[in-house]
């Protein structure tokens, strides 16, 4: 019953939001730059627009996906190193905080000159996703209870065995929470990275359509980015439900 209610409310909320968007566009209260949703969707009837958007979507999804995977792997390795070598832990935490404190937007020009236009979106996506995963992994690796740790110590477990058999499995629920936050961050990172002049992608499309007053295309690009974010988030949220059943 509770679940059915949640579903009904979710669907109702979504429809309300879409209707509001359509309404604002129809009434023209926010001017030309806010078209009705139906008009944005209708723009996709044109095969050239559809093709353009499709290619941009694929490029952004690839950059975000690559960044997400790379950022996650690096974050996991760093978190595991911190767990295996406790003296390093405070330093690694601080390093991660410093990396996160640097505005991604400020890194853009720097990355363009170092890793190039092609690679920048993925690198920014990796930085954005990596921080979320690192924070989640670090707290996850410390999530095992005191009684469990005592049992492992009394069994004569090595640090490696404790990591593999206790800390990593115990970290799974928090880690998946972290991944669910990291996926939208990676999409955002990729789009920001594309703004700095990547050869293709939704970020590029956003900038060019804005400059050329292609309002429908701009909205289509923005909504596409939102769709990738939400899809990734939904997939990981589903995974979290499965993990909660298995690991708690």
């Amino acid at each position: 019953m509770n679940r059915a209610r949640t579903t009904v409310l979710t669907v109702a909320g979504t429809l309300l939001l879409l209707a509001a968007m359509e309404g604002v566009g129809r009434l023209g209260v926010l001017g030309e730059s806010w078209p009705p949703l139906t008009q944005v969707v209708a723009a996709l009837d044109d095969p050239i627009t559809r093709d353009l958007l499709g290619r941009a979507l694929a490029a952004t999804a690839t950059a975000a996906g690559t960044g997400f995977v790379a950022g996650t792997l690096v974050a996991l390795v760093v978190a595991v190193v911190g767990a295996l070598l406790p003296p390093l832990q405070p330093g690694l935490d601080r390093l991660a905080a410093v990396v996160n404190a640097v505005p991604l937007i400020a890194l853009g020009p720097l990355l363009i000159t170092t890793v190039g236009r092609e690679g920048t979106p993925a690198v920014i996506a990796a930085l954005a996703a990596g921080f979320a995963v690192f924070v989640a992994a670090t707290s996850g690796l410390g999530a095992a209870g005191a009684a469990h740790r005592d049992v492992f110590r009394a069994l004569g477990s090595s640090r490696r065995a404790t990591l593999l058999r206790l800390q990593l499995p115990a970290a799974v629920p928090l880690l998946i929470d972290g991944l669910a936050l990291a996926a939208p961050a990676a999409v955002l990172g990729a789009v920001v990275g594309e703004w700095f002049g990547a050869p293709r992608g939704l970020g590029v499309l956003l900038v060019s359509s804005m400059q050329n007053f292609q309002t429908d295309l701009m909205w289509a690009a923005a909504l596409s980015a939102a769709v990738i974010s939400l899809t990734a988030y939904a997939a990981l949220a589903g995974l979290r439900v499965a993990a909660a059943r298995r690991f708690v």
Partner: protein, 272 residues
């Protein structure tokens, strides 16, 4: 009423068997609170458990009895005095994976089945899992049909039995039990006591059981060491000469009740 061999001096807890498998010599444990304040949990405790002996450490909560067990498991170190296991540091026994331990919190891995939980000590020790041994222990604790069950699918008593099977699976030299039945209801608890008595009769591992349940201590142990006060000190040592095997009939025995009453009175005095 048979004589039950009360030691003359509480400090003289050394058994006749030599050498002691577990030994505390003047062990004192202080815990640091904030600022320079410290609290003494144990004050100069002497205790010896002989090879193959079952000793129950009985005391009210907060008397430091769990600290004794934690020091023997190498989870804590004494502030002063010595803690010896087979004449050496507890860490040596732990490093050799020769210690079995079970706590009040079952501390089973929630993501692992009963089988995998019992097999855990093999994996932690880096040894191949002896499936026959794991299955034999699961049936010893009466859980043959539950090998694939996760902890949350088991009752409290079943979880505790899995934890005890896990403690026994590597055929430890020393078994440390910290109120393993403390979270169970009275009926289940008593049933588990008789099961443990049966299992122990088979294996006769050197065992230290920490408990605040007087009946449990008398039912299971060869010797009951009463610890009282804050800081905890050994107040009394009682040899339990009740015949084994001990079963339900014993709980109706007059001598059993006599011992229980006497020890309960000691605990009561100590609490004042």
């Amino acid at each position: 009423m048979a004589a039950t061999g009360i030691s003359e001096s509480p400090a003289e807890a050394t058994p006749r068997t030599t050498p002691a498998a577990l030994e505390l010599r003047g062990a004192t444990k202080e815990f640091r609170l904030r600022r320079s304040r410290t609290v003494t949990a144990l004050a100069s405790v002497d205790l010896a458990v002989g090879n193959g002996e079952f000793v129950a450490l009985l005391g009210p909560s907060g008397c430091g009895k769990s600290t004794v067990l934690r020091m023997l498991a190498g989870l804590d170190t004494p502030t002063r005095g010595e803690v010896l296991v087979n004449g050496g540091a507890p860490a040596e026994l732990v490093r050799g994976h020769r210690l079995g331990i079970a706590f009040q919190e079952h501390a089973l891995l929630p993501w692992a089945t009963a089988y995998d939980n019992v097999a855990l000590p093999f994996r932690v020790a880096g040894r191949p899992v002896d499936a026959d041994r794991v299955n034999a222990l699961l049936s010893l604790v009466g859980l043959e049909g539950f090998t694939d069950a996760r902890p949350r699918q088991l009752s409290g008593g079943m979880r505790q039995r899995v934890a005890i099977a896990r403690a026994l699976v590597l055929q430890p030299e020393v078994l440390l039990l910290d109120e393993p039945f403390g979270a169970l209801d009275a009926v289940t608890r008593r049933r588990m006591n008789f099961e443990l008595a049966r299992i122990w009769a088979d294996q006769q591992i050197t065992t230290l059981l920490v408990t605040h349940d007087v009946d449990e201590a008398v039912l299971l142990a060869d010797r009951v060491v009463v610890l009282t006060g804050r800081p905890g000190t050994v107040r009394h040592v009682e040899d339990i000469t009740l015949p084994r095997p001990r079963d339900k009939a014993l709980t109706r025995d007059a001598e059993f009740h006599d011992i229980v009453d006497r020890l309960t009175a000691l605990l009561d005095e100590g609490a004042e």
